[in-house]
Amino acid sequence: MDVVRLSADDGSLARFEADWAEQCAEMDEDYESYGAATMAPIRAFAEAKADKEWAIAISDGERFMAAACAIRTRQKPFNGEVLRIREVTVCPLLDYGNLDENAYVDTLIAILNGALKLSESDLKAEHIKLHLRSPADAVFFRAFGNTLDSKGVFAATEAHGAWLTISKAPALQLAK
């Protein structure tokens, strides 16, 4: 799976919306109301096409498996650029349990690794922050963060409040 940018200009947003509308139709769901709270900002980002605010999607080559907003910014107390991933939304087929269990795991991995790839290419950043919107998110990603931290690959991995933060180098710099 690969991370791709969604844009109203190059037809990628239209392809994405057609795919998810078709997936909703398979589930007898209405695409217009699917993930209404998160899809609105994703569409807005795809239409605005700002340099540091991207609408992104995870594609398996046939289907779009997830979508999100990616924002590159500077933020205290971080030293260097921060890539914030917000409004993560999985595709209707995953949401309604119509895909193999492996697809869940592969999609979660692709979201995080897609963010890492963006942070090394078009949206260069030293830190990746994933927005955790629910108590379940916090419990799950705190455990994930601890496991990832134990691998010793990143300078730091921490779930704090509503964010999972993965820091490459350099390490966090305390605000003064």
């Binding site: 979660l108 790839k117 990143f154 300078a155």
Partner: protein
């Protein structure tokens, strides 16, 4: 200081996610906010 290696980083994310999902189970994963229907269930519970 740890030198960042993208290939190692992506592999570590994969391993950590597989271990975490294995621990929590797919049923818990489906309660994450990334799943719009999980939010609908929360709203029904709140009502």
């Amino acid at each position: 200081m740890i030198k960042y290696d993208e290939a190692k980083a992506c592999n570590a994310v994969k391993e950590a996610m597989e271990e975490t999902v294995s621990h929590f189970g797919i049923a818990f994963v489906r309660t994450l906010s990334f799943f719009p229907s999980a939010h609908k269930v929360e709203l029904k519970k709140a009502a």
